[in-house]
């Protein structure tokens, strides 16, 4: 059983390491803001499936979301680009 437990935790290392970046989403303001942020990406014609949230920054009157966008086609995975969208809280 101990070996199974160690193996499971080993497999989970990258997932566990990714948990801290999701901590800000405990805040309901940020959770609601992210949908507006996603709509902004959509209005730029991006495929949301190619984007991944990297950072959330709370400023005085707005919340900024930084996304990593990586376009994928049949043969290519294009270089990463960082896109920041800011949602005004007012």
């Amino acid at each position: 059983m101990f070996i199974f437990l160690c193996t499971s935790l080993l497999i989970s290392i990258t997932s566990i390491a990714g948990i801290p970046r999701l901590v800000p989403f405990a805040d309901s303001k940020i959770r609601s803001g992210i949908f507006d942020s996603m709509n902004k990406l959509r209005s730029d014609g991006l495929w949301l499936i190619n984007t991944d949230i990297k950072n959330v920054e709370i400023k005085e009157s707005e919340t900024c979301f930084t996304w990593e966008h990586r376009y994928r086609s049949r043969e290519h995975i294009f270089p990463k680009e960082l896109i920041t969208t800011c949602i005004n809280e007012n």
């Binding site: 199974f4 437990l5 499971s8 935790l9 997932s15 999701l22 495929w47 499936i49 190619n50 086609s73």
Partner: protein, 419 residues
């Protein structure tokens, strides 16, 4: 030579393998298949997609490569199913059950397409097999195999976690009634520990929750259960026809199989009901009914059994014969019609050869990124003016004409150059 059940079984198994390898490159890639091929679905655990990416990395980014992965998983299911059946029955029944599984229409169909349901079907069957072995003899060997197969199932596709969870629940209910519970604790713990990676994966990947929230209450859920079950049966009937009658008939063998077997089938059915009854690929898991169907058919007179098997074989051929030999109204739509993208991509890409980025209107699916060379922006939610010189419009030539000068037009696609 007298033809007996063994000969018939082997003939059906060979037919089933042949049908799984047929028409792999014929239909266009669908949007869900493309998500799997790109390895980008935020809602799925990664193993199924990693296998597809790995195959493409080795053999190239071709339709035959990603669909061959499914075909191989579909074929590999057959010997595994034999060993599973042997835990319940003798060699004769087991071989006959494999023959019925070999010609089971939804299992053949999704062995030809890359939806990952065929991979999960194999992983679930493997989990069930090792669960039954460990339950009989909870040695380190069988517990290890159970652990590995359960982790594989949960990481193959997110819904894969359902079977280990239900097996744990089943074990707990079963053991409430038993005095000696120690033997089962090891199995329960093994399954629970095997769920740790998927638990952390879901926790750290917001795409899984986002997808559940996006579709929860409409496609995902248990609302209007009557309609959901009705839709499910209609979908099954379209792809299984009289196999559905055989399934109903096979319920008479209920007592010959134990609860883990029925829990596995039930998990497959529940997945269909809860995650979208009109999604055909959830019918893949019904292949496990091949065992109760075989047990039931072997209880009737040989003449009726042979007639039934003949009818099931004819139906499978009418649904899934190679489209170059036969096209019938019972076939899935994408085998009845000529594909579009597999035959037009070259011409469309020739028009777009100097473009780095284009805008596409008309609800493009993910497969459009597979077929088109330039980067694609989804124009449906964009504000005008569009940022690209070329706009490709799906199924609306009038819209394309209103945008600019038409440089390409066929029955599906119009391309306009903006002024």
């Amino acid at each position: 030579m007298k033809i007996n059940l063994k000969h018939i079984s082997w003939a059906l198994i060979i037919l089933g393998i042949y049908l799984r390898l047929t028409d792999l490159t014929f239909p266009d890639l669908t949007t869900d298949e493309a998500q799997a091929a790109f390895g980008t679905s935020p809602a799925w655990t990664p193993l199924g997609m990693m296998i597809l990416r790995g195959a493409q990395g080795i053999f190239g980014h071709e339709l035959i490569v990603i669909r061959m992965v499914s075909a191989l998983f579909g074929i590999a299911f057959l010997p595994l199913f034999y060993y599973l059946c042997r835990l319940y029955s003798d060699k004769r029944i087991s071989l006959f059950a494999v023959a019925i599984a070999a010609i089971f229409p939804t299992h053949i169909l999704f062995s030809r397409l890359s939806y990952l349901s065929i991979q999960l079907c194999l992983a679930w069957t493997l989990t069930l097999y090792f669960f039954l072995r460990a339950r009989k003899e909870p040695s380190a060997k069988w517990l290890s195999m159970l652990y590995i197969s359960s982790v594989v199932a949960t990481m193959m596709k997110t819904q894969g976690l359902l079977l280990p969870v239900f097996l744990v629940v089943g074990m707990l209910i079963e053991n409430l009634r038993k005095a000696d519970r120690n033997k089962s604790i090891e199995i329960v713990l093994t399954l629970i520990i095997s769920l740790i990676p998927v638990f952390f994966y879901i926790l750290s990947h917001p795409g899984v929750f986002a997808t559940v929230f996006q579709y929860g209450g409409n496609m995902y859920g248990v609302s209007e259960p009557g309609n959901r079950i009705f839709d499910l049966v209609i979908t099954w009937w379209r792809f299984l026809s009289i196999f559905l009658i055989a399934i109903a008939f096979s319920l008479s063998a209920y007592r010959k199989l134990n609860w883990p077997f029925w829990i596995t089938i039930g998990t497959g059915i529940l997945t269909g009901i809860v995650l979208g009854p009109s999604h055909e690929y959830y019918a893949t898991y019904l292949v496990l009914f091949a065992l109760p169907i075989s047990i039931s058919l072997l209880q009737i007179k040989p003449i009726y059994r042979n007639l039934s098997v003949g009818a099931l074989t004819v139906i499978t051929i009418l649904i899934l014969a190679p489209q170059s030999l036969l096209r019938t109204p019972w076939m899935p739509v994408h085998y009845q019609e000529d594909p579009y993208w597999n035959t037009h991509t070259e011409a469309v890409n020739e028009v777009l050869k100097d473009e780095e980025v284009i805008t596409v209107l008309g609800g493009p699916g993910h497969h459009i990124r597979w077929y088109l060379d330039p980067k694609v922006l989804v124009g449906d939610n964009m504000e005008k003016p569009y940022k690209t010189d070329y706009v490709l419009v799906l199924r609306d030539s009038d819209l394309a004409k209103s945008l600019g000068k038409i440089v390409y037009e066929d029955e599906r696609v119009s391309i306009a150059v903006l002024p």
